[in-house]
């Protein structure tokens, strides 16, 4: 494995995370820069830099032929796709397989079976894992969607077959909603994932989004690395995750059964990499298979923090046929508690994206904080990319300690020049239901912490801005 040349077809914090693992393992990390991001901070951790020509994602991070050319030109041995972009694209992993290039991810068949949600549900069912009722295949027309909606009963969820991370999903309370949203979700699916196919499924009320981390090698060994609670969401996108799940709590029987269910799903597709099986859990603690993300997940760090397992490094070792860091499921244990805040360039109240230019960045963190990010002073967040610019992760001896640390860390994270959701996170971290660990995916919608974001003007903020500008006038130091 040592010396292998690996191309990272991604950007931002995940490209940094992957490059770190490659360097540590003695591989050559090759990063790319594009014409709409000529100075990407992830290059800091890449040993070689390659120009991926193009001005938008279709021309660059989603352009398979262009990427295959780079692979040829720069004698690449393997590719890490990160998350999003081509991370779960069957054609891509097959194209690589044809050329004998190592795809750092699961085999194409697993990508295909779990990527197509209709098939993945079938797989789960056959593996004996319950699934949420819904369309058994792709739904091509509004009429068909409405028909299914009436069969399984509204509310239903319209979701992109190729989607993930909550993108390309919209809930529909009635037929009218389906009519209004169908085309839009198709467009989002196409622009976001390059494929417009849609699914319809039952929309469970007050559900918990709980997912299980899977890590498997090429020799048929499939392990779980316990669960993550991802129920704090806005627009079906996670903004806070924690591990272990406070909803499962000390119920080791439930923990074991959901983790075992995840392993069953993974085995059913001969899974052979890092991946995540997502479940939806009702208030009755019954859980249903939702989907399997056949890639490294945004929120993988909280699992790394509580288990000590380096998921990215092991994912790479697995891809090159190397043994994992452990020999049996019993080697993997939970110690402590971890919480992750997704730091996004967005309005903390409307929670809408707010791109712009960062002009000030300072951190004053307690011990036990991990900040995976791609922020630097003068970093410009463009509308081309995801608004998530960092992940603030706290690890503590228990949930109370982790909460104390992440609260203090949020206070110490200063990003000036753009709107961020840090203010919203501060409200949530001090909100009683969250403190109790008592929340479902409806948390944001029902508790509405965004409405408690302080909107009182503090003239001191204006004074500090003046001070900063004046200081800058005199060379930046007094």
């Amino acid at each position: 494995m040592k010396g292998k040349r690996v191309l990272i077809i991604n950007r931002g914090e995940i490209a940094i995370r992957v490059a770190k693992a490659l360097n540590e393992l003695g591989l050559v990390s090759v990063g790319v820069w594009t014409d709409n991001e000529t100075e990407p901070p992830h290059l800091e951790y890449c040993q070689e830099w390659v120009h991926l020509v193009g001005n938008n994602n279709k021309e660059t991070y989603l352009n398979i032929p262009k990427i295959m050319d780079l692979i040829e030109k720069y004698k690449i041995d393997g590719v890490h796709p990160g998350y999003g972009f081509l991370s779960e694209n069957r054609e891509f992993s097959e194209a690589l397989a044809k050329k004998g290039i190592t795809f750092i991810g699961p085999n194409p068949t697993a990508v295909y079976k779990m990527g197509a949600k209709d098939i993945s549900k079938q797989v789960a069912k056959e593996a004996g894992v319950p699934v949420v009722p819904g369309s058994t295949g792709e739904v091509d027309t509004i009429e068909e969607a409405i028909k299914i909606g009436n069969e399984i009963g509204f509310p239903v969820l319209l979701k992109a077959v190729a989607g993930g991370g909550g993108k390309g999903m919209r809930p529909c309370m009635n037929e009218e909603d389906v009519k209004n949203n169908f085309a839009a979700v198709q467009r989002e699916a196409l622009s976001g994932f390059g494929y417009a196919g849609l699914l319809v499924e039952k929309y469970i009320l007050n559900p918990h989004h709980i997912e299980v981390q899977i890590l498997a090698d090429k020799k048929g060994n499939v392990y779980h690395v316990f669960e993550r609670e991802c129920s704090v969401q806005r627009r079906h996108q996670k903004i806070i995750e924690e591990a272990p799940s406070p909803f499962i709590g000390t119920d080791e029987v439930l923990r074991n059964s959901i983790c075992e269910a995840a392993v069953k799903c993974a085995r059913a597709v001969n899974y052979d990499s890092a991946g995540t099986v997502e479940f939806i859990m009702g208030e009755d603690k019954k859980f249903y298979f939702l989907e399997m993300n056949t890639r490294i997940q945004v929120e993988h760090p909280i699992t790394e923090e509580i288990t000590g397992v380096d998921l990215v490094a092991n994912m790479i070792k697995s891809a090159f046929g190397e043994p994992l860091d452990f020999k049996s499921q019993d080697d993997i244990k939970i110690l402590g508690h971890a919480i992750e805040l997704r730091i996004c360039a967005e309005d903390p109240i409307s929670m809408l994206p707010a791109p712009g230019k960062i002009v000030g960045f300072e951190t004053t963190f307690p011990q036990g904080i991990r900040f995976d990010h791609c922020i630097y002073p003068k970093f410009t967040i463009t509308p081309d990319f995801d608004p998530m610019i960092g992940k603030l992760i706290a690890k503590g001896f228990n949930r109370e300690v982790a909460l104390r640390k992440v609260r203090n860390a949020a206070e110490g994270l200063i990003i000036d020049g753009i709107k961020t959701n840090i203010a919203l996170h501060k409200v949530i971290l001090n909100e009683e239901n969250f403190i109790k660990g008592n929340y479902s995916t409806n948390y944001i919608g029902t508790i509405k912490p965004q409405e408690k974001v302080a909107v009182k003007e503090d003239i001191k903020a204006f004074m500090l801005k003046v001070a900063a500008i004046e200081l800058n006038q005199m060379g930046g130091q007094v």
């Binding site: 309005d347 809408l352 994206p353 791109p355 300072e362 003068k378 909107v455 004074m463 200081l471 800058n472």
Partner: protein
């Protein structure tokens, strides 16, 4: 030196500041005086309102925008700009950079308040831009596929 802060709703703050050589700043705001202490230690800048408690001053101050909670203020040093025109209910202005995905109306169409006029995509998200008032579409200044900056006047509705 006088500073002016003005947000999109034309809410305005103005501050007077004097920089003293002893590394303090004297602020005057609504007649009240405030002293700000500044220090550079080990390459970082710090501020204090009492000379005892210190905090990091993060901003490089290179931008002319202040983000306070979720409001953005344009900052004007030493002068007050003339003729900033407020976005009326009938004027649809981009609140963030984005791309026009679909126009639902054309010039001359009648629209009712809340009706979707066009769809703007920003950060892979589709946002329905709705009419802020009943009226007739006087002008559409964008076309489908066009990329827009923040603050761009897309559509004008005659009430």
């Amino acid at each position: 030196m006088r500073y002016y802060f003005i947000n999109q709703e034309m809410k305005e703050f103005s501050l007077d500041v004097e920089f003293h050589q002893n590394k303090t700043m004297e602020f005057k705001y609504e007649g009240k005086k405030t002293t700000l202490f500044l220090k550079s230690v080990a390459g970082k800048n710090y501020f204090s309102f009492d000379g005892i408690g210190w905090k990091k001053l993060a901003a490089l101050g290179v931008n002319e925008v202040l983000v306070s909670h979720s409001e953005m203020y344009k900052v004007y040093r030493g002068f007050k700009p003339s003729g900033l025109n407020k976005g009326a209910a009938g004027a649809l202005v981009t609140q963030m950079p984005g791309k026009v995905v679909k126009l639902m109306k054309k010039e001359g169409d009648t629209v009712t308040k809340g009706e979707t006029v066009l769809i703007l995509e920003a950060m892979k998200m589709e946002n329905e831009i709705k009419a802020g008032a009943d009226g007739i579409i006087k002008a559409i200044n964008v076309k489908e596929g066009q990329a827009l900056d923040s603050g761009f006047l897309m559509v004008e509705i005659e009430e």
